[in-house]
């Protein structure tokens, strides 16, 4: 009797298909919440940091603000979630954040297997090495036997293993969780070398007291196209993030800045600028936003070039040259699809 009842109970439980509804369109969710939830890194000088008021600033948060401005017309309607190399994908996949903008390399398996969609690349990077000048090392090829600090859960970890294997060298990896921790270990001389994306190295070195005592080796051992990303399966939301990045790039190309955007919207004769800024056509309505979505996005922090110059450009302590990240018209790789 008892066993029979137990079996029935188990059966009942097995049939009780309590299903949870699949998540609705991300744009509707974001609009309902009233703010955008954006995953950023835990802190890389220039790329993502908190200012004196505790607000997130930097090259990556600027993308989040542009998207928020495109959706709400308000660049402050963002909640930032700091994520580490380890937690970022889980945070995005679980819906804890709506998008990631944090030095994340676009790769095949992240796109296809982890089911993420990458917006246009907003920073073309490559992995480099930083060492103390007094070690007298001038090439990555002479790093045999070195102790190397490395952030776990990143593509750098894999590139490093491949590079040393290909060059038949040994090294001692010291796995680290965050950039700040790596900096501390490196400065304490607990590792000879710190390796991450060259932009990150430059940014980290900029924050050192004696930046001149450290050199970044000339070898760039990988391609690291850094791009904002969203979950697979919501094309509307992906389009919004994708075209917001494109809008910032096109704005630089067309000379639309944060300051003159309103004026250009009203007075420009260039049809593409008029379509971009919503004075003509209804591009915004096509993906469920206001006509002036791109105008708001550009006004949030300026065009791509302005954002670059403000946070990581040559005038800042980080001091990165545009290099590959110049517009295609200036010999770089930034090339936005047209707005029509």
């Amino acid at each position: 009797m008892k066993t029979k009842l137990l079996t029935m109970a188990l059966g009942a439980a097995a049939f009780a298909g309590v299903s949870t509804a699949a998540s609705a369109a991300t744009l509707d969710d974001v609009k309902a919440k009233g703010f955008l939830q954006c995953g950023v890194s835990t802190g890389v000088p220039g790329f993502a940091f908190t200012d004196d008021n505790g607000d997130w600033q930097g090259f990556d948060p600027a993308i989040c603000r542009a998207v928020a401005a495109a959706v709400f017309g308000d660049p402050t309607a963002v909640k930032f979630t700091p994520t580490t190399g380890k937690t970022r994908f889980t945070a995005l996949a679980s819906g804890e954040v709506d998008m990631l903008a944090r030095n994340t390399t676009e790769t095949f398996s992240r796109d296809v297997d982890l089911k993420f969609s990458f917006a246009p690349v907003n920073y073309y990077d490559g992995q480099g090495f930083m060492v103390r000048k007094d070690l007298g090392v001038d090439s990555a090829k002479s790093l045999d036997g070195a102790t190397i600090c490395i952030q776990t859960g990143t593509t750098t970890e894999l590139n490093l293993a491949d590079y040393f294997r290909a060059n038949n060298m040994n090294y001692e990896p010291v796995p680290i969780e965050t950039n700040a921790e790596a900096q501390e270990k490196y400065l304490a001389n607990a590792c000879d070398v710190y390796t991450t994306d060259a932009s990150g190295l430059a940014a980290t070195r900029a924050a050192f007291e004696n930046a001149a005592d450290h050199v970044i080796l000339p070898e760039i051992i990988s391609k690291e196209p850094l791009a904002p990303l969203v979950r697979h399966g919501d094309d509307q939301w992906f389009d919004i993030v994708k075209w917001t990045v494109n809008a910032l790039i096109t704005a630089e190309e067309k000379g639309v800045t944060g300051a003159n955007a309103d004026d250009m919207a009203a007075n420009s004769n260039d049809p593409e600028v008029r379509r971009l800024l919503g004075s003509e056509g209804e591009l915004g309505a096509m993906f469920g936003l206001e006509a002036n979505w791109a105008l708001n996005a550009i006004k949030a922090g300026g065009n791509y070039g302005e954002i670059f110059a403000r946070y990581i450009g040559e005038e800042t302590p980080v001091g990165l040259a545009r290099g590959l990240n110049a517009l295609y018209t200036d010999g770089g790789l930034l090339y936005s699809a047209p707005f029509r």
């Binding site: 309590v18 297997d113 089911k115 790093l143 894999l158 491949d162 010291v174 607990a190």
Partner: protein, 399 residues
């Protein structure tokens, strides 16, 4: 007993009896509970399945056979970045077992010493031990791990400035400690066999000495004879065989010392912090165990003429062990599970390899975490199984 509550089971069954009849009520409640529990489990499982489907993910362990593509610093077995993920997991498992094993040993030794010292008549010693115990017990172990790691990283010199202590046998650096490693030359096998045989001889001798003592009452100098058996045969054989086992010292080459035995600071920090932290708890168990033995036992032992050391070893500790061991098991389990904090200092245990880098590079959260949880479950069950056997060996036998 009144007729109202008494029933001979002959009246017809009614539905309300499920709740109002004592005979059925407990079963009814248990069934309701189990149905609710199963529903909750089914809901959770279904939720996971649904979410997996929404994300377009499948559930498979095939990734374990793909190349891991990352390097691990401390590997007890052969491992390269081309090895499959399962091998990276095995490397992590061995690292976890190593830290757990050495941690349990160190925690037990330190814990027993501190626990006994806390009961010392010497005011300074007992107060000092109290400070130690309260200090370690009341600060989260993660902070101790980080503190140890920071001390090692900042207080010790870099390899190029490191002092060579004991003629180069010990080199402390801010990356780790370099110790000499054994070099096994020809003829080392007989030496090892002789060493093992002398250990067997010690055990046999001690048994024989005990039987003899019980028969004749004569006490032999067991300690000194054991010590001689431990060292003399092996030493004589060592020189007769022409010193087959040598010591390899670490040497500074390039960036770091090469050769020798390299004990990383991540290991040292984790090992020390876990051992000292758990030792504080074990010390309290030991103190409680000793104090639980009636003072009369000590007095009886003294009046039989046993000196204090023998009183402690032969009378008090064997009885105290019965009280100490059950909580000791849970301290061993705690230490093993706390070792998963290893990632904080970059020690590559199972949480760092399978539950960390592999999980991250493959995106197989569910599979990796299930495997890691399964591993900790099995290890914990094994530890408590072994300790329970030991416990029943020392427990009070009721005849």
């Amino acid at each position: 007993m009144t007729a109202a509550t008494y029933s001979d089971g002959s009246e017809p069954f009614e539905f309300r009896m499920l709740f109002y009849d004592k005979r059925y009520r407990s079963i009814t409640l248990q069934i309701i509970t189990i149905v609710l529990f199963m529903l909750a489990v089914a809901w959770l499982v279904d939720n996971v399945v649904q979410n997996f489907r929404d994300l377009g993910k499948d559930f498979s362990f095939g990734f374990l056979f793909q190349p891991a593509s990352y390097d691990i610093n401390q590997t007890l077995i052969e491992y390269t970045s081309r090895s499959p993920h399962w091998k990276a997991a095995v490397v992590g498992i061995l690292n976890t077992l190593l830290i757990a094993f050495l941690g349990c040993i160190a925690a037990t030794i330190v814990g027993v010493l501190i626990g006994v010292a806390r009961l010392s008549q010497n005011w300074l010693v007992s107060r000092f031990m109290t400070v130690y115990i309260e200090g370690f017990r009341n600060v989260p172990v993660l902070l101790w791990i980080l503190l140890m790691s920071t001390i090692f990283a900042t207080a010790l010199p870099s390899p190029r400035q490191a002092p060579q202590l004991l003629g180069g046998a010990l080199v402390p650096t801010n990356r780790g400690f370099y110790l000499p490693a054994f070099e096994w030359g020809a003829g080392s096998l007989p030496l090892v066999i002789i060493f093992l045989l002398s250990i067997v001889a010690i055990i046999v001798f001690r048994r024989w000495a005990r039987t003899r003592q019980q028969e004749t009452g004569e006490i032999l100098p067991v300690f000194w004879i054991s010590l001689a058996l431990f060292f003399l045969p092996s030493l004589i054989a060592f020189f007769l065989l022409g010193r087959p086992i040598g010591l390899e010292f670490a040497e500074l080459k390039g960036f770091n010392y090469q050769g020798g035995l390299y004990v990383r600071n991540s290991f040292m920090a984790l090992w020390l912090a876990l051992s000292l932290y758990t030792a504080a708890f074990i010390a309290e168990n030991v103190r409680a165990g000793i104090q639980a033995i009636s003072k009369g036992q000590t007095e009886a032992s003294y009046s039989l003429g046993l000196p204090p050391s023998r009183t402690m070893n032969l009378v008090i500790l064997p009885q105290a062990l019965r009280i100490i061991i059950p909580p000791l098991i849970s301290q061993y389990l705690n230490l093993t599970k706390n070792s998963s904090l290893a990632i904080a200092v970059g020690y590559m245990d199972i949480t760092g390899t399978l539950g960390g880098i592999t999980l991250n590079q493959t995106g197989r959260e569910m599979e990796c975490l299930l495997l890691v949880m399964g591993f900790y479950l099995i290890v914990s069950l094994l530890i408590s199984g072994v300790m329970n056997v030991y416990n029943s060996a020392v427990a009070l036998k009721e005849r």
